[in-house]
Assembly symmetry: C2
């Protein structure tokens, strides 16, 4: 078991809901909890803030941001805008060697049986990133996408959604690789687009339904 940096630990704990949405993250509490001084806590918090995994609450304090269907939709629109671009830029450098590595990873993901939705999401991103990284021609783009996926993973971990979607998703990944191997770039880009759109739609629908039940629960006893 690798020892995690405090930053990694915190990120994981936020994703796992130990620090839920709305939670105020103050240095003192955290330095007590994790048994370190406030300096490394500061560092970790600042990094998380820069990545959008924490947001300002008031003038000088940080909190775990709330989740919303609207934001999830925004994140998926960003994915839709950036990921086809990333794949397109990587296309010239996508050798069979690279595609082989992607296949290995995909197979490995499938063999992992009992994964949480968030973990599965993280591995899916690894797969996508492997393709986009080819040739190392889009470091800026990759960094932005990494950030976006950090955010998305919080939404995935939120609830075990659409269990049957994982099959569809996996199938599409294999199809994507097949198209890339055959040099059918345009079709690959189209598939990637609809693949992301579909996943986004599913997530947003799920969250929207959830928000409505929650708000109706909140308002009906009061009214």
């Amino acid at each position: 078991m690798k020892t995690l940096s405090l930053y990694q630990q915190l990120r994981q704990d936020i994703r796992q809901g130990i620090w839920p949405a709305g939670q105020l993250m103050n240095q003192q509490k955290l330095s007590d909890y994790y048994q370190v001084s406030r300096i490394p806590v500061r560092d970790a918090l600042q990094q998380l803030k820069a990545e959008g995994l924490l947001v300002m609450a008031g003038k000088a304090s940080l909190k775990v941001p709330e989740l919303s269907a609207a934001e999830a939709e925004e994140l998926y629109q960003i994915r839709l805008a950036l990921e086809p671009l990333a794949l397109e830029r990587a296309l010239p450098a996508l050798s069979f060697h690279q595609l082989g590595r992607a296949e290995d990873l995909l197979q490995q993901i499938e063999q992992q049986q009992h994964l949480s939705a968030a973990d599965r999401g993280a591995m899916n991103w690894q797969f996508h990133a492997l393709l986009y990284q080819a040739g190392d021609q889009s470091p800026q783009l990759l960094q932005l996408l990494h950030r976006v996926h950090q955010q998305v993973e919080r939404y995935l971990g939120f609830q075990e959604l659409a269990l049957n979607y994982t099959d569809t998703s996996a199938t599409e990944h294999w199809q994507l690789l097949q198209l890339l191997r055959d040099g059918q770039s345009q079709q690959a880009l189209t598939l990637l687009h609809s693949h992301i759109a579909q996943a986004g739609q599913l997530l947003v629908q799920h969250l929207t339904a959830l928000e409505q039940t929650t708000t109706s629960q909140q308002s009906s006893p009061a009214d």
Copy 2:
């Protein structure tokens, strides 16, 4: 004159070339230079690193990243992918009130005569951001774009490029506002796209030319 945070100061100094590309940014030297302890320096450095304005150099040190035409092109491709999306999402919330504020800003920019290319770039981004911010419906997108523009500004400050382009650019901004006021959304999006593409092309051409003269200077005396 407002007192800048160390982070802001450092960002400005990097943009102004006080710490040039390739420069190693170590905490000790900087804490001497800015007359503060290493703690606030750490904070500032970490933030700059998270924003991509500093990059790792070796295992634990940071440096000012090098500039390249390839990266500039990447950044403009990202702008092209994200900014039309941002405008599209802001469209429903774009009231005449908002457009009026944008006009004021534009006029104000034009009245500022002697600005560096980087300063002018920063104000241009302010103008674009004002449009995209309407309705506050894309906070994630705005944050990503802010990051991208931080990077772009380094390139603009690099050299006083294409002095005559500022006129073209300003004209296009007024045209964009006109189209938005007239409700010609599709045309506005198209104009925005070509506006960004044009600026990007100009910058990349400029940098490419510059890189070639530099590399030929480097290699010819040796060979």
